[in-house]
């Protein structure tokens, strides 16, 4: 559906995107994940047509929309964009905002369509309200509705949940996902939150310094990260002899286990203890972090268990 091939973009001699290739299938939800400033927003802008490419090309449903010598205007790409700050038009009410993309349609047709989409996002009856009286979550939904009426081939979300309360995040994510799945929409989310990426995506493109380091399902990226940075981005990880082992896969046992280890320290963290042990595996001295439910003494000898999944 969307094919990104070897695209590059530089600004003032700094490389922002370095030969990136990603393919997104119809109906897939893909997250572009990485640290702040890693080029994620630029990638999204390039797909939407707000940035031009230095190299490579982007094609949508077989048609090239961005290349060195080809450029389709953003207004003609049929790609929806939901901005981080929602960017609702403050001087227009919900109806006018949502119906903005509909031109030349009859009044009745517009009314019907808007009503339908508002129902979809659970904001029926909000037509006459203005953006400034809506909550953050409501604004986000209006921003989504505005894009949906366009019946876009693809929707881009730029840090969709970063301004949302952590308490509400989960429920909002669920709702949004439900809508997208229902409509079988193809979507790309840009985020810096690994939990968010894992929760909502079919595939994650992990971006570091403008390169796609790994493009895989959430499970694969989590369990089989290709580099230490990738691995540690998703959560605490132990590194030993080139292998990345998730902390929660490690357990300490007093009597039996795979490897012998010596305790370094044990810190109380509230819901658990974080115990650091040293172990020699395949001739290498490795340090492991293990979650335990009791404190261990320094230099205590224990067995380290690593369960394969």
């Amino acid at each position: 559906m969307l094919s990104i091939q070897n695209i590059s973009k530089s600004y003032d001699k700094r490389t922002i995107l370095d030969s990136i290739s990603i393919d997104v299938g119809r109906g897939e939800i893909v997250s572009v994940l990485g640290k702040s400033g890693g080029g994620k927003s630029t990638l999204l802008n390039a797909i939407a047509g707000f940035e031009r490419l230095d190299d490579g090309f982007i094609s949508l449903e077989g048609q090239t929309i961005s290349a060195k010598n080809v450029f389709v205007e953003p207004s003609k790409r049929g790609i929806g964009f939901v901005f981080q700050n929602y960017a609702l038009f403050p001087h227009l009410n919900v109806f006018e905002n949502v119906s903005f993309a509909l031109s030349g349609a009859s009044k009745a047709h517009k009314k019907e369509k808007i009503a339908a989409v508002l129902e979809l996002i659970n904001l029926s009856g909000y037509e006459k309200k203005y953006p400034h009286v809506l909550s953050g979550g409501e604004q986000q939904r209006v921003a989504l509705a505005r894009v949906l009426v366009m019946e876009p081939k693809l929707i881009l979300f730029d840090e969709a949940f970063s301004s949302v309360d952590t308490v509400l995040k989960a429920s909002i994510q669920k709702e949004l996902l439900a809508i997208l799945r229902k409509l079988k929409t193809t979507a790309i989310f840009v985020t810096h939150d690994p939990k968010e990426a894992m929760a909502i995506s079919d595939k994650i493109a992990f971006l570091e310094n403008g390169r796609v380091v790994q493009f895989d399902s959430p499970e694969n990226i989590y369990l089989n990260p290709v580099s230490k940075d990738t691995a540690s981005f998703f959560g605490p990880v132990n590194v030993c002899s080139g292998k990345y082992i998730r902390v929660e896969k490690c357990r300490l046992d007093k009597s039996s286990g795979d490897f012998v280890s010596t305790v370094e320290e044990s810190v109380f963290m509230g819901s658990r203890y974080e115990t650091t042990v040293n172990s020699t595996i395949d001739g290498l001295d490795c340090r492991f972090l293990v979650y335990t439910d009791c404190r261990y003494e320094k230099d205590e000898k224990l067995f380290l268990n690593i369960s394969e999944f």
Partner: protein, 529 residues
């Protein structure tokens, strides 16, 4: 991205910007070709004097404007005293009185056998001083221009105050130390920017210099053009004026250095220090000087004579002049505002290469003396006319000397006034709503018309009013470019003063002041105080 991005928007922007700075280019080109007897003659005789005079006036004016502007900003920002809000407001009021009006009013009041002289004679004193000299010019220009310094520096002081005052006091610094070692340096950029403005206005000033007999670059340009009938010499002197201006701008840039303090947003309300009795009295006396001499006296003089002469002068001619002024200022301001929106939008959408600086380049006209722009446009239009006459065998000129030339002159000169406001407004609106609209299928034009312009209504009005007022007050450019027999409030006042009809001109002066008061009033409504 290339240095010269080429697409529909950017090409149109280049064309527009080029048109605006065309007068300046014409002057430079014409000046290079300048030779001939008259020029040699000018160079040998008056040029050095004229340059020196200009320099002296600049230095003097900058000093006076600094003292009143910075002093006023300091006292009203850092201290509280009875009626301080009123004083804060009044300190800005000389803004509505153009320099040449202050000039001739004081010529009348302080001149020989004027009211002050008569009073002194009645007291028994035989001796009196002559006020038609350079010192008076410096005093008048300082009074007329310090409000720029006051308003700009005051804003900067407010910001500085909320961030450094408490820490400084906590570390035991005295008032003097805080002022010289913290406040002034931290506001360096604002102060330099404000003084640069003062210098520009000073170089451009014509009416005051002419009246008081001080020959500066501006009067020399006029004399060359009208008196000697030598456009080339006028262009040559204009180029010298431009060199002055460019030097000042370079000095400003250098003095600004690489400062980029991130302004802290501090909303802490720190109570102002109360002034003791002696300090308070001194403050009142100090602040009353610019307020009284810069505003109260000229205003009351004007009001008095307007009432006395009202019947004589509110006639068809006054109405005609009013209409002329409003028409030409209105049309020009509208063009300026929409031009600024166009250029600003273009620079935001295509911030590449030279297009990013389109707004700044187009603002060049503001730095040039009005006389220079006038000369440039006249030369340009005469050349076009001559070409048309030669090619198509017309018998007389077509575009030179029309209202079109005047409007073009105002646009070139005052474009800068609108672009700042417009840029600021676009910044506040943000770029995401623009992107949102475009991703929803709207073209640039549709987005601008349906999204950004409706959100900019207030800024557009403000920019319009700023430009309108500057145009109403403007004198030298208008004198050169106005169509035959076309008088504005400013030129009519000037003519009447020249014909010994000073008192009768008061209603025209009052009209100018009222027009100039409007943006000041709007600014206060915006609570910039």
């Amino acid at each position: 991205m290339p240095f010269l991005p080429l697409n529909r928007w950017s090409i149109q922007t280049y064309f527009f910007v080029l048109t605006l700075i065309l007068p300046a280019i014409v002057v430079i080109v014409f000046a290079f070709g300048a030779q001939g007897e008259t020029l040699e003659h000018i160079k040998e005789t008056i040029l050095a004097d004229v340059v020196l005079n200009t320099l002296y006036v600049l230095l003097g004016t900058v000093s006076v404007a600094s003292v009143f502007g910075i002093g006023g900003a300091y006292l009203t920002t850092f201290y509280s005293f009875k009626m301080d809000k009123l004083f804060s407001f009044l300190l800005a009021m000389p803004f509505i009185v153009p320099a040449y009006i202050i000039g001739f009013i004081y010529g009348d009041i302080f001149g020989f056998y004027g009211p002050v002289h008569i009073f002194i004679m009645q007291l028994g004193f035989k001796n009196y001083i002559d006020v038609l000299n350079g010192y008076m010019v410096v005093f008048i220009m300082g009074l007329a221009l310090y409000p720029y310094v006051y308003l700009i520096v005051k804003a900067s002081f407010s910001k500085t105050r909320s961030t450094i005052l408490y820490p400084a006091i906590n570390l035991g610094a005295t008032r003097t130390k805080i002022f010289f070692r913290l406040i002034i340096p931290l506001s360096r950029v604002s102060i330099i920017g404000a003084l640069t403005l003062v210098v520009m206005e000073c170089i451009s000033e014509y009416g005051v210099m002419k009246f008081y007999g001080v020959d500066t670059l501006s009067t020399a340009i006029f004399n060359a053009w009208f008196g000697l009938n030598d456009p080339q010499s006028a262009a040559y002197i204009s180029s010298i004026a431009m060199i002055f201006v460019v030097s000042v701008l370079l000095i400003e840039k250098a003095a600004r250095g690489k400062i980029s303090y991130k302004s802290e947003k501090s909303s802490a309300k720190i109570p102002k220090e109360k002034l003791g009795f002696i300090a308070g009295a001194a403050a009142y006396l100090f602040l009353l000087i610019p307020i009284t001499f810069g505003f109260l006296i000229p205003f009351l003089w004007t009001l008095y004579y307007s009432v006395v002469y009202a019947e004589n002068i509110i006639d068809m001619e006054y109405v005609g002049v009013m209409l002329n002024t409003v028409a030409v200022a209105g049309v020009s301001s509208i063009l300026i505002v929409f031009g600024a929106i166009f250029v600003s939008y273009s620079a935001r959408i295509f911030p590449y290469g030279i297009n990013k600086y389109s707004g700044k380049i187009a603002s060049l006209g503001y730095a040039l003396p009005g006389a220079v722009i006038g000369v440039g446009i006249l030369i340009l239009f005469s050349s076009i006319d001559n070409w048309l006459i030669a090619k198509f065998n017309f018998e007389s000129m077509l575009i030179g000397g029309t209202v079109f030339a005047l409007i073009f002159g105002y646009c070139a000169r005052f474009f800068a006034v609108a672009i700042n406001t417009v840029d600021g407004s676009f910044e506040r609106i943000g770029i995401t709503v623009n992107k949102a609209a475009r991703s929803l299928g709207a073209s640039h034009i549709k987005t601008l018309l349906k999204i950004e312009l409706p959100l900019m209504k207030r800024a557009m009005l403000f920019a319009f009013v700023l430009a309108f007022v500057d145009i109403v007050k403007e004198l030298p450019l208008t004198l050169i470019l106005r169509p035959f027999n076309y008088e504005t409030l400013a030129t009519k006042t000037y003519e009447m003063v020249g014909s010994q009809m000073m008192y009768e001109s008061s209603i025209y002066v009052l009209s100018i002041m009222v027009a100039a008061f409007i943006p000041l009033f709007l600014t206060i409504l915006k609570k910039e105080y």
